[in-house]
């Protein structure tokens, strides 16, 4: 069993928790105390048998010593570091203090920190969205303009009617009619604005965007909607009439996703897919050649299999022609940015650059536990181009974990530039908070 650089730290922590002296532990497993000291300070890696003896004496599963903290928590701690002000001395200090060590020693506190950070990020996203709405929302801007125009007309007209110099009766009648007209317009515009703003107030923190609400809903169903596998279309309205869909537009997005997934299921029913699942994850390219369906459809179907049928965990990313992520099914160990763009080196974006040419690549994420993934990416033309309009395209990437042996030539990628340690990456678009800043600003 491979050990990591923190196996020693975990051994030491467990020994100290049990109140066992270093010399006693060393003697019991047949090594010297000085050698055990080197191990505990991560200066020596240990093999399976010795690790097993130590684990047995310390009454723990050997895997808990070698595999360490939950990678989801580690991802979350990476997000926390990424959100810190890079120019603060405290950030440099935190970034140098090994999130893995923190997560291993204090798993409860680490998980709580991650949970609180994500809640704060969700609330901040909600606030930013609402503030942005006030400044840039064309509907809001138009509604306010209508209201102010009506108020202006009413104010000017009523001033004329009530001023010292009254207009003649014909003008009075005309102006009274104008006030009546503008009052009705003002009432309609005000009610519409109130309804529109009420929708914003209902937005739940943490799921500010319609896309996120869909992803949360799907996550609750283990990314598989059984109702879509039947031969007759289900009641989409009933499916989207879920209290989880509260943001404006989330039901529309959900309806669109359900409709397409139902069509995918008709094109590639589960019995057909299952023929290819006899030996783990199938080669999507081979499925295309046998089935003559688009590769994007196959990637989507593989990511939407029932949990009991899928050979393992899978992630899925979909991006539009601008590279914006429009769908995210996360995968443990493959961090996805909550807001903003992902790593430019993902095969997803490579496929966007060459529509018609699918991409298959093994990618490696940075970190102490470098994780590798098999990825398949393809572009689908949703709407062909014309002489006046470009095509509407969509890129899809399936992500499958790769365990075991080294993969020479694996593409070195990250999750997002801001939290990526690959400082010499040619595709970097912004500094990483993990870089040593040239100057630090004290508090």
């Amino acid at each position: 069993m491979p050990t990591t650089t923190l196996t020693g730290t975990r051994l030491r922590a467990r020994r100290l928790d049990l109140g066992v002296k270093q010399a006693d532990l060393a003697r019991s497993v047949g090594i010297s105390a000085s050698y055990l000291n080197l191990i505990e300070h991560n200066r020596r890696r240990i093999g399976g048998k010795l690790l097993g003896r130590l684990a047995e004496f310390l009454s723990v599963d050997p895997a808990s010593l070698s595999e360490g903290a939950n990678s989801a928590v580690l991802q979350g701690l990476g997000e926390i570091i990424g959100a810190l002000n890079p120019h603060r001395e405290s950030t440099t200090r935190i970034a140098s203090e090994s999130p893995e060590d923190f997560a291993d020693r204090f798993p409860g506190w680490a998980a709580q920190s991650v949970a609180q950070h994500r809640r704060i990020a969700g609330l901040e996203a909600t606030i930013a969205g609402l503030a942005d709405r006030m400044s840039h929302d064309p509907h809001l801007s138009s509604a306010l303009h209508d209201i102010l125009s009506s108020v202006t007309a009413i104010r000017s007209t009523s001033t004329i009617l009530t001023g010292e110099e009254r207009p003649d009766p014909a003008w009075q009648a005309r102006f009274q009619r104008n006030i009546h007209e503008e009052s009705a317009r003002l009432a309609t515009a005000s009610q519409a604005l109130a309804r529109y703003l009420a929708t914003a107030e209902d937005a739940r923190p943490g799921t500010a965007s319609p896309q996120e609400e869909l992803e949360v809903w799907l996550s609750g169903r283990n990314w598989h909607v059984a109702e879509l596998e039947s031969q007759t279309a289900p009641d989409f309205e009933a499916l989207v009439h879920d209290p989880g869909f509260r943001a404006t537009g989330s039901r529309r997005i959900a309806r669109r996703w359900l409709s397409r997934t139902f069509e995918d299921a008709q094109s590639l029913p589960i019995p057909t897919v299952s023929e290819f699942l006899t030996d783990g994850w199938p080669d999507p390219g081979a499925m295309v050649q046998r089935l003559h369906v688009p590769l994007s459809l196959i990637l989507r179907r593989l990511a939407a299999l029932p949990e009991l049928m899928a050979p393992g965990a899978a992630g899925l990313l979909i991006a539009d022609g601008a590279g914006a992520l429009t769908f995210r099914r996360p995968l443990d160990g493959f961090p996805l940015p909550r807001i903003g763009a992902g790593c430019p080196l993902w095969p997803l974006f490579e496929a966007l650059q060459r529509p018609g040419q699918p991409v298959r690549a093994i990618v490696e994420l940075p970190g102490t536990l470098a994780r590798r993934f098999q990825t398949y990416a393809a572009v689908e033309i949703l709407q062909p181009g014309t002489f006046t309009d470009p095509p509407v395209v969509e890129a899809t990437m399936l992500i499958l974990p790769l365990d075991g042996a080294e993969a020479p030539g694996a593409r070195q990628v990250g999750s997002a530039c801001r939290v990526c340690p690959r400082t010499s990456c040619a595709a970097r678009r912004e500094p990483s908070v993990l870089e040593t800043p040239p100057d630090t600003i004290s508090f």
């Binding site: 125009s149 108020v151 007309a153 000017s156 007209t157 001033t159 102006f175």
Partner: protein, 122 residues
């Protein structure tokens, strides 16, 4: 008669109110409601003062004003800008575009009257 005003505004009831108060004060008021042809209307009507709304169909008041300032015939034509957006940034934009005065909606009739009188007197 006090002079000639061209009112460039597309809200009919606002137009009626402003035209009434200016006419009552002795001004000859022409009205134009389309942003795209507003610059041509200025050239055709030859006003002494322009009262210009920002939000117009076809073209914004800022663009219209920029064109007026770029033409030597209208570079110094007095312009009162009206807008529903009263932030400092909007005021600054109006001044940068070359507006002589800037007024937010809803406005007081006497303020519009006073501004037009002041602009016409130079």
């Amino acid at each position: 008669m006090a002079g000639r005003v061209l009112l460039i505004e597309d809200e009919p009831n606002i137009v009626e109110a402003i035209r009434f108060i200016l006419s009552r004060d002795g001004w000859h008021v022409d009205v134009h409601s389309n942003g795209e042809t507003a610059v041509a209307a200025v050239a055709e009507r030859g006003p002494d003062v322009v009262v210009l709304d920002v939000m117009l169909p076809g073209r914004s008041g800022y663009d219209i004003l920029a064109d007026l300032r770029a033409d030597t015939n209208t570079a110094t034509l007095p312009v009162l800008m009206l807008t529903a957006r009263g932030q400092k940034a909007d005021r600054d934009m109006a001044m940068r575009a070359g507006a002589n005065r800037f007024m937010t909606k809803p406005f007081a009739n006497e303020d519009v009257l006073a501004a037009v009188r002041e602009l016409a007197s130079g």
